[in-house]
Amino acid sequence: MLLLTLLACTCRDDPALTAELAAARAEAEAVPAAPRGDGWSPDVVLHLSAQLTDRLLTRGLGDLPPIEQEVVLGRGVVLKPHLAVTRLTVDGPGAGPTCVVGTAAIGGTVDVDASVLTGAVPVEATATVEVALA
């Protein structure tokens, strides 16, 4: 009889504990509302090194359409560039809160059509570029 009583006690579900488990589960599964604006603190931060940032931006900007619009300089000189960003090196933060300033290498050729010279000239240009990130 004592054994049966003990078994009955040990095998009994405790409603208070069941409620506690349900509350713990509900609390863990709750998803907070998304914050409005930028007034939130991050709980995950991914830092990208300067070298990796350079590689990612170089790859991204390298996918932009080439610069190919014709330029008429006057005195019978016409340039037809075939240029693209070949490398971007970030120099530091830019003017805006999400901006960086970098030095872009722009490479390719420029077709020169002038009275004294006609042909494609290889070009390695550099440009200071401000890039907004989002």
């Binding site: 709980d43 995950v44 619009q69 240009a125």
Partner: protein, 230 residues
């Protein structure tokens, strides 16, 4: 993460076979052309975080410059998110990921409930964790829910282990599991499976490294999950 060129300040084109005046004019024209071409282009994607492959939902995401690199700040959908100090973190690798341990515990709790019983109808739910270097100390609450025929109870266990990055994964290798150190049990009188439960914690840990997060490795361009780049 997308990038949109905003401004091209100057262009230097050495080597153009033009007289000085025309070369300077060509540089100005090419700068204007480059700015028009780059600024007018649609934003380009430079880093892709695929929602469906992230281990957590994100409620906030923003990007900020950091020294000569970039910092991506995110807010997870953990029930009670912690915080990561926003400061430049020196690191030798291509990238570094910081995750609030409080958030990780809450996300782990959600995952534990979703996973269900690990064995013998026992749920293993993380309650707290601390990190000291690579040494992890955690409290895991073993729950025996109602309806299992052996009564309802919970008991907290301390679990120690180590955290390491292996095969591009952050992995936890639990070591010891023990009750004690001020840990609490409730429903102890109806706890005939306590010994089994403790064994389950050990099995839980010794069954191999348990992935809690995946961060990829090396260059993000080579990472498999969840960080992808294009």
């Amino acid at each position: 993460m997308t990038a949109s060129p905003r401004k091209v300040r100057k262009v230097r084109v050495p080597g153009l076979p033009l007289p000085g005046g025309l070369a300077a004019k060509a540089e100005d024209q090419l700068a204007a052309l480059a700015e028009a071409a780059l600024v007018d282009a649609a934003p380009v994607s430079v880093l892709l975080l695929r929602d469906g492959e992230l281990p957590v939902g994100l409620l906030g995401l923003r990007v900020a410059p950091e020294a000569r690199g970039v910092r991506v700040e995110a807010l997870s959908d953990a029930a009670h998110p912690g915080t990561v100090p926003v400061q430049a973190a020196p690191f030798a690798e291509d990238w570094a990921l910081e995750v609030s341990l409080d958030s990780a515990v809450w996300l782990g709790r959600r995952e534990a409930f979703a996973h269900g019983p690990v064995a013998a109808d026992v749920l293993a739910v993380p309650e707290a964790a601390t990190l000291d270097g690579d040494a992890l100390t955690a409290v895991v609450r073993l729950w025996r829910p109602a309806g299992a025929g052996h009564g309802t109870w919970w008991r907290d266990y301390g679990v120690s282990g180590t955290v390491a990055v292996a095969s591009r994964e952050v992995a936890v290798a639990p070591g010891e599991a023990a009750v004690g150190g001020g840990l609490v049990a409730r429903g102890g009188r109806s706890d005939p499976l306590a010994a089994l439960a403790q064994g389950q914690v050990k099995a839980y840990g010794s069954g191999g490294r348990r992935r809690v997060a995946v961060v990829g490795g090396g260059a993000a361009a080579d990472a498999r999950w969840p960080v992808r780049s294009r």
